[in-house]
Symmetry: C2
């Protein structure tokens, strides 16, 4: 067998998502790209902001000497300083260059954090609905995930959180704005999560880290302000990227920010730097580090996503779907009109609308719509959403 037993099993488990993806390709070939409404991937069609192209053009015209060389594994000093400065102004906390580590996207950041913190058999608590990669990431480092369930507004049940934290729990991993629900956890919720963790740490004499995966943190609607996690737990770490806020998902440029008030933060950052190297990332891509250093205060046009959210929310609720209105990101997570989300997603596909079943995010009976597409694709999907809904109601 060409692949290990473990990877072979993983691939089999995930194979129906893959099958769907491949079906989508066939569908597009069969009916033409413009007749298939693919809302399955979080891969923005929006281009990066003009400031990005200007920065790229400047650096291409006047390359900086040695700009493609290795730099310290934590990243370029100037880039880390620029990120720290932006975080200072966003949070009011005293971030320093040394609190930042540049990474190969948020996926790279999460793996570096997990590798640094987790011993085999340690536990990671995550919240439903969740990004399915968390399971693979934790498994990469020999750890296990347990899942806090949520109510029908996608708000986690914090009593269950308390019961899921064991002496082996090393990390509690939040994601807000949430993929797939688009829900933004508010200050009160995050504060309670922090308190639960602290009380369990005291009970067990353990050290738990509150880790926030927040690539969508700048994509917020209705003038909402982002509740940064740092003030809710001293051992807090953020994993994020510029995949969404600068529309650079393919470039794999992100960072880790460690709470400036974290004890032992020097040891922690040394560990993160070591793992960034030994996991084979080595450092975040150099040219992108040079570019994003100039773009820390720049964000894509969020009002565009807000308008698309409003359009889709209005259209789906008008059809009769039960939808929680998202506060951020570019996903919506409607309830399917039948319990079996996989069957419903299959029905949508017959109407040439591609979405992802909620089962893939730990929530049967829902489906994820990614609306970071063109207006034409989004509008074109509405008939399919209506017809599929009518089939079952």
């Amino acid at each position: 067998m060409a692949v290990s037993r473990k990877i072979s099993e993983f691939m089999e488990q995930g194979s129906w998502i893959r099958k769907m993806f491949e079906d989508g390709i066939v569908l597009k070939q069969q009916f033409g790209e413009e007749n298939v409404f693919d809302l399955s991937l979080g891969n923005p069609v929006m281009e990066p902001p003009q400031e990005f192209f200007d920065a790229l053009s400047d650096i291409a015209k006047e390359p900086i000497k040695g700009m493609h060389r290795y730099m310290p594994n934590a990243g370029l000093e100037t880039t880390r300083a620029a990120v720290a400065q932006e975080l200072c102004s966003e949070t009011g906390l005293d971030f320093d260059t040394e609190d930042i580590l540049m990474t190969v996207g948020a996926g790279g950041a999460l793996n570096v954090i997990m590798k640094t913190l987790l011993d085999p058999d340690d536990e990671v608590v995550i919240f439903s609905p969740y990004f399915v990669e968390y399971f693979f990431y934790a498994d990469n480092h020999g750890a296990k995930c347990s899942v806090v369930p949520c109510d029908d507004r996608f708000i986690p049940d914090l009593k269950v959180l308390a019961s899921l934290i064991t002496p082996k729990t090393r990390m509690v991993l939040t994601s807000s704005p949430n993929n797939p629900s688009g829900i933004v956890y508010d200050s009160q919720l995050l504060s309670t999560i922090g308190e639960v963790i602290k009380s369990k740490e005291q009970e067990y004499g353990s050290e738990i880290f509150l880790v926030s995966d927040e690539p969508y943190r700048k994509i917020l609607f209705d003038g909402m302000e982002y509740p940064h996690i740092y003030r809710f737990h001293p051992r807090s770490i953020v994993a994020t990227s510029h995949s969404k806020d600068l529309a650079l998902p393919g470039e794999r440029i992100g960072f880790i920010a460690v709470n400036p008030n974290c004890d032992d933060k020097n040891e922690l950052v040394d560990g993160l730097t070591f793992c960034n190297r030994t996991l084979g990332f080595v450092n975040a891509p150099a040219l992108m580090q040079h570019l994003v250093a100039r773009l820390q205060s720049v964000t894509i046009d969020v009002s565009k996503y807000q308008a698309q959210r409003d359009f889709l929310y209005d259209a789906l609720t008008a059809i009769g779907y039960n939808v929680v209105k998202p506060g951020g990101a570019f996903y919506m997570f409607p309830k399917a009109p039948i319990e079996n989300d996989v069957v419903f997603v299959d029905e949508l596909r017959k109407h040439k609308v591609l979405v992802v079943p909620g089962s893939g995010f730990g929530m049967q009976g829902y489906f994820r719509v990614s609306y970071c597409v063109t207006d034409a694709t989004l509008a074109g999907a509405i008939d399919g959403f209506r017809d599929a809904f009518d089939t079952f109601t």
Copy 2:
């Protein structure tokens, strides 16, 4: 404790290398950058070829629509096709787009390969002297390394190879041109390695992969032709990057090439693609994929490195050092005049010459000189090499 027990132990083991690196920084601050001759890192001062800058300038002037978006995890079709085409012309084998996977450098490539192939407790055979990261990489995936020793020409003892291959051996990992020795394994040696593997596979009824880590494959001297590994074993896989041949180490752009004649290669590439995603790399950096697609037949000026090799080899042998003349890469691995390489490297440091002890590569009594520096740095180091040598002879 902020980091896991495992990572804490690893960091302690490696801490004297770190100490050296930090001492180097202090030394430069104390005596001035130009008075310290840092030959410790494989971080070329050479800039990428003009063709790279032209390609960057072109794409900055006329950005390709969607060029920063996610693409399939294996990489851009056009880039994979360009790599395959170059490999066809280099090897005469029938490489196809599907045989190539773009990666976050060779370090990313090796981790993706190991994750795909290795179950916990599987074994990887490596050759001395070795790149120390191999141990960390194998450990990332729960596997162990065993080391084939070499003679004083750095040629591995293949009788020991046979004895080190056990029923748990899943991978034999070669690296040529070798880091740290600069030695190029010739066809006969590789052929014998292939035969030993095949005979052991037959003995155990196992499947072993011959993996070649070859980021220096295009940096060859004296008109040597590179002996590609594909013809020596059907289950052969190459991990490489453009870090050295295009002088882009900070950009993390590399690829995996699977032997087109490998059985089950579709399953293998699917596994590699899956692991590229789930290890958190997701895909190789997009912009660099666009650029290197145009640069497959371009290489930095190798004659420059050859001249530096000649200069350094002549200078060191004239002093009295015992040196095996390298056939490629930009490293030299002289014998220290005393047995304790760490003490000798410390003496060199007193003369403001920074190199890495052979112990870091599994060979006590040697040291690695990295000569991908300016001519001035290289020339400036010679007095220190002489004085340190004279201290002990």
